[in-house]
C-alpha cells in the first residue's frame, strides 16, 4: 500500500492515509490518484477552488519527503505555482501531483494560506 502523511500549518491534526493508487479515482476532483484525489477520497479536506482543474493554487502542498514518487510537474502547473504564496522548491499542486507507485511513501505539508489576491490571505 502507498502512504501519504499530511500535516497542516493551520494546526489541524496530522493524518496518514494508506491507499492503493490502482483503485483511483477515489472521488471526482483533480487527477485520478493525485494528492488531492487521495486526500478528499479519504475524508481529508484540501481547498480546491477550481475543482481540481489546475486553474488556481488553492491546493498548494509542500512535499517534504517522497517527491520522486510523484508525476513530473507540467508547464501549466509550474505557471500556476509561480503565483502561489509561500512557494518552495518542492511545492506542488495537489490536483496535479499523481502517485502511481503502490509502495510510495510521501509526506506533504499544507500551507496556512491559499491565494486570494484581494485580501492577500485567503483561507
Amino acid at each position: 500500500m502507498a502512504r501519504i502523511h499530511v500535516v497542516f500549518e493551520s494546526g489541524e491534526p496530522a493524518r496518514t492515509i494508506e491507499f492503493d493508487p490502482r483503485e483511483a479515482p477515489f472521488q471526482h476532483d483533480g487527477q485520478p490518484a493525485s494528492v488531492l484525489d487521495v486526500l478528499l477520497g479519504h475524508g481529508v479536506s484540501l481547498q480546491h477552488a477550481c475543482g481540481g482543474s489546475c486553474a488556481c493554487t488553492t491546493c498548494h502542498v509542500i512535499v517534504t519527503q517522497g517527491a520522486q514518487f510523484l508525476s513530473t510537474a507540467e508547464e501549466n502547473e509550474e505557471d500556476m505555482l509561480d503565483r502561489a504564496p509561500g512557494l518552495t522548491p518542492t511545492s506542488r499542486l495537489g490536483c496535479q501531483a499523481v502517485i502511481r507507485d503502490p509502495d510510495a511513501e510521501i509526506h506533504v505539508r499544507v500551507p496556512r494560506h491559499t491565494v486570494n489576491l484581494i485580501s492577500g490571505h485567503g483561507s
Partner: protein, 221 residues
C-alpha cells in the same frame, strides 16, 4: 476552509441553447480583480460539486455578478446551473484565481479569447482600457453556430482599442501572423483564455517565439 457565501439568481440571459449568463445578486459585496472566478458549490445527487466560473462583470458592481456557463454534455454541474430559475440560491466561495489584470501593462496588451473564454477577458479589457498607455487588442475566436458574446460592446473599434474577430479554427494562425512573423517586437503582453488545447497551443507558440514566460498569461478551461 474557505468562507461560504450565498447569492440569489436574479436573472438569466440566454445566448443560445447551450450558453447563458447568470446574473447573481450577492448577499454581501465581493471585492475582486478582473479575471478572477468564484467557486460554486453545487449540490448534485449525494455530492457537492466544486465548479469555478469566471466573473464576466466589472469589480465596480461588487454585489451583482455575471457569470457565463456552457451546458457541458454529461456535465452534472452545468446541468444543475441550467436548471436554476430566478430566485434560486447559489452557494459559492471566492474570489479566486491568479489570472488577473490590475492595471494595463506598459507594453501593448493583446487579449486572446476563444468562445466563452471571453468571460474573464471582458472585465480585464475594461480595466486595461481605463489604464492603458499603449494599444489594446482583442483577438476573439468565434465558433461557427455559436453566439458571439458581448459583441455589441467588445467588437467596436475605439481609440486605443482594436477588436479582431476570427473563426476559432484560425485563431492560432492569426496569432502567428500578427505577433510572430509580422515583426520582431517581443515586448507585448498576452492574456489568453479558452477551452481545451488551443490555449496551450497559443501559449507554446508565443513563448516559443521569444515572448517572456511572465508576459504570456493564460487560463485554460
Amino acid at each position: 476552509m474557505a468562507v461560504e457565501h450565498s447569492a440569489r439568481l436574479e436573472g438569466v440571459v440566454e445566448y443560445g441553447p447551450a450558453t447563458r449568463a447568470l446574473i447573481l445578486r450577492l448577499a454581501t459585496p465581493l471585492a475582486f480583480l478582473p479575471g478572477q472566478f468564484i467557486s460554486c458549490l453545487l449540490p448534485v445527487g449525494d455530492v457537492v460539486l466544486t465548479r469555478p466560473y469566471s466573473i464576466a462583470s466589472d469589480p465596480d458592481s461588487p454585489d451583482r455578478l455575471e457569470v457565463v456557463i456552457d451546458l457541458v454534455p454529461n456535465g452534472p454541474g452545468s446541468a444543475h446551473l441550467f436548471s436554476l430559475v430566478p430566485g434560486d440560491t447559489i452557494r459559492y466561495t471566492g474570489p479566486w484565481g491568479t489570472f488577473t489584470l490590475e492595471d494595463a501593462p506598459r507594453t501593448e496588451a493583446v487579449f486572446i479569447a476563444d468562445g466563452t473564454g471571453i468571460a474573464p477577458i471582458r472585465p480585464m479589457i475594461h480595466r486595461a482600457l481605463a489604464t492603458a498607455v499603449r494599444p489594446v487588442t482583442l483577438l476573439y475566436g468565434h465558433q461557427g453556430g455559436t453566439p458571439l458574446l458581448f459583441a455589441d460592446e467588445l467588437t467596436v473599434l475605439r481609440p486605443n482599442y482594436t477588436p479582431v474577430v476570427v473563426p476559432s479554427a484560425a485563431l492560432l494562425d492569426e496569432t502567428k501572423h500578427r505577433y510572430v512573423t509580422a515583426d520582431a517586437e517581443r515586448e507585448r503582453h498576452f492574456y489568453v483564455c479558452g477551452v481545451g488545447p488551443i490555449v496551450y497551443a497559443l501559449r507554446d507558440l508565443l513563448r516559443g517565439a521569444g515572448y517572456a514566460r511572465h508576459a504570456v498569461r493564460y487560463e485554460k478551461w
